[in-house]
């Protein structure tokens, strides 16, 4: 996150947060069970898992999605995510797995999926109204969230691919996620170079797939914007603020405060 921080007073616990957390945890546990069932006896109950043929990989994906949801629920209940940006991430971590799971494990996801989506919507009500500064903060944060999502997509497609292309996809996706997380701590040029290096190999060897070049293009476009924004962001430390106040005080001493 950028050096800009928004100070907030610790809000009183909301009943809807407790509800959202419970839905997330219970839904996540049920989802993990659904994923395990798909992983173990999926081929014997295909109508229940959406007639999926690749029950192993989809079962693993389902368990991972459920784990993300459980972690989000636990984070919500432990009240560790109290900035607006953090809350947006948390809501996304409930709603996205909640929706994606419907495509990985069929009917077995109906109940956990509904619980996660309802939990996500409930948690979303805790996001403070987006004022100008929230938008500024979220812009840098959310851009990186988008790049991380694209990196995960890239990684997932790498898992689906075969041979050397698979290595390119998995490695490239992981690198995109890593660079996106480290953007605030590295020069923009390094971040941009890292993103381009991460996405080019897989997109080149699977150019005909349309989807990998599309993801690669978005990673570069959004990643470049995020990196430039971070590099332009002005660090507002307490010292800097004190200096600003001092300047202002000096100005007043000069009688120019009005």
């Amino acid at each position: 996150m950028s050096a800009l921080t928004i100070a907030t007073s610790r809000p009183a616990p909301f009943a809807r947060d407790r509800l959202a957390a419970r839905l997330a945890i219970v839904g996540g546990v049920l989802g993990a069970i659904a994923g395990t069932v798909e992983l173990t006896i999926g081929p014997s109950i295909r109508p229940w898992i959406g007639d999926k043929h690749d029950t192993t990989r989809l079962g693993i994906v389902t368990v991972v999605l459920a784990t993300i949801a459980i972690y989000s629920g636990w984070t919500l209940v432990s009240r560790r995510m109290e900035t607006s940006a953090g809350r947006v991430l948390l809501v996304a971590a409930l709603i996205v797995p909640g929706l994606v799971g419907f495509t990985t494990v069929g009917r077995l996801w109906y109940v956990p999926g509904a619980m996660l989506v309802i939990g996500g919507v409930s948690a979303a009500k805790g996001i403070s109204s987006a004022t100008g500064s929230d938008v500024a903060t979220l812009a840098g944060y959310w851009s990186r969230v988008l790049v991380v999502l694209l990196g995960i997509l890239y990684l997932a497609l790498g898992v689906a691919a075969h041979g050397p292309a698979s290595v390119d996809g998995i490695g490239g996706g992981a690198m995109v996620v890593a660079v996106a997380c480290l953007i605030p701590r590295m020069p923009a040029a390094v971040a941009i170079t890292g993103l381009v290096a991460a996405v080019v190999p897989f997109a080149l060897v699977t150019w005909w797939s349309i989807v990998t070049p599309a993801i690669a293009s978005l990673v570069v476009v959004i990643g470049v914007a995020a990196a430039r924004r971070e590099s332009r962001a002005l660090p507002v430390s307490a010292d800097a603020i004190l200096r600003i106040r001092g300047d202002d005080q000096d100005s007043c001493d000069d009688g120019r405060c009005g």
Partner: protein
């Protein structure tokens, strides 16, 4: 205290050392940023949907997965199993795989699965028997490799669907050049190298693959420019005639597998991956909803006219004395498979093209004017009838495999 907007460009005002007061009026810059975020989010969601569609349609998994595993595990198992695994890699009309096997300790019985006949495209089961001949040839070729001496008795004339009995006696294992090509053989529907001839010596060698003990089955070549043009025109006309025949179109559609889940559920039929389309075109076809039968038919006609016939170096025709005789049909299928395996071993591409004979049989079935029934004999030696035809040439791309049912699905008690 005065705000320092020059130092805090986003409209933030510093009110204390530890907190920032949020202005209530959104700046123009924030508005633009918010719009950019919205667009980016929309683009990522759209790409996510596209990525899921690509995953669901197996765009990056072409030729892999359970439906394609028989091509890689064909040598697994003991006893008769590897012979059956080899048999199911044979070509068949519309990849319908109309075969069943009964397996004993020292024999294999080959049966026709007539529920998998291709209907109006093969009303007299000519192509079904040719495919069974190809499967039988794979058994015969693979048997010595696994230490069996095969002895074949053909019985395809009965009503019970029994086609052949293969008795197997133990011998010392020996390698076979043709058997080694079984898992590498695929029908190649891509364009061939334009203008590059297949050497006459190669054509001659393939002709000699005909079994001298079965003189009523031969292979002939249409390799001169005139002969190629004549056959090409017949193929294009026959394709158009099939597309004008609603029943034949319906029979064709029955075996078309559009989705990845369909491919793995049925493990048979015609797929986009094996259709010889350019990769980008194949991807677009997979990502979009299935095209209408008319559009699919037009694409097939265009491919036949502009790619398949235009780049054929030569046409091979397996000819027999009586194309309605099931025994000759099975023998013809065995020869066809030997030719295809030999061509594969020499780096040549082969594409089965039976539109003309499909129309000949259809005309006979409907009792209509034998347009193709009269035209086809004009380009064949007198006294011979066409059983199956194909184009041959130098490949521009390696052919992709077709799905295959598991060996367990074709062995019956």
């Amino acid at each position: 205290m005065l705000p320092r907007r020059d130092l805090l460009p986003l409209g933030l005002t510093v009110s204390s050392a530890t907190s920032i007061t949020i202005p209530t009026v959104m700046t123009r810059r924030a508005l633009i940023r918010r719009a950019g975020l919205g667009l980016s989010t929309f683009a990522v969601l759209g790409t996510g949907a596209l990525a899921y569609r690509a995953y669901d349609q197996g765009v990056l998994e072409a030729g892999h997965g359970p439906a394609y595993r028989p091509w890689s595990d064909y040598a697994d198992g003991d006893g008769m199993l590897p012979l059956i695994r080899a048999a199911i890699l044979a070509p068949s009309p519309h990849n319908a795989q109309g075969w069943q096997f009964r397996v004993g300790s020292r024999h294999i019985d080959l049966h026709a699965d007539r529920t998998r006949a291709t209907g109006a495209l093969d009303p007299y089961l000519r192509e079904l028997h040719v495919a069974l001949g190809a499967a039988l040839e794979n058994i015969v070729l693979m048997a010595p490799v696994r230490g069996h001496q095969p002895s074949v008795v053909l019985t395809p004339t009965g009503a019970d669907g029994h086609v052949a009995h293969v008795a197997l006696s133990p011998i010392t294992e020996r390698a076979s050049e043709l058997a080694a090509q079984i898992p590498r053989r695929h029908t190649n529907r891509y364009p061939f190298e334009s203008g590059r001839e297949v050497p006459a010596q190669a054509l001659s060698t393939m002709t000699e693959l005909a079994d001298p003990a079965v003189p009523e089955v031969r292979l002939i070549w249409l390799s001169t420019r005139d002969a190629r043009n004549q056959m090409g025109e017949l193929l294009v006309s026959a394709t158009a005639a099939i597309l004008d025949d609603a029943e034949q179109v319906a029979s064709d559609r029955r075996w078309f597998r559009q989705s990845w889940d369909e491919i793995h559920a049925h493990r048979d039929g015609i797929t986009l991956d094996a259709a010889g389309l350019p990769e980008l075109t194949a991807t677009i076809a997979k990502l979009l909803p299935a095209r209408s039968p008319r559009a699919t038919g037009e694409a097939w006609l265009e491919a036949t006219r502009d790619r398949h016939t235009r780049t054929a170096a030569a046409y091979g025709v397996v000819v027999v004395r009586d194309a309605t005789d099931p025994v000759q049909q099975v023998h013809g299928g065995r020869l066809l498979q030997r030719v295809h395996l030999w061509a594969t071993g020499r780096g040549l591409a082969l594409h089965h093209m039976n539109q003309v004979t499909e129309r000949v049989d259809r005309e006979r079935q409907l009792g209509i004017r034998p347009r193709f029934g009269e035209a086809l004999p004009q380009i064949l030696p007198q006294g011979w009838q066409a059983l199956a035809s194909f184009r041959v040439g130098h490949p521009t791309r390696e052919a992709r495999p077709s799905p295959r049912r598991a060996v367990e699905a074709v062995i019956v008690e």
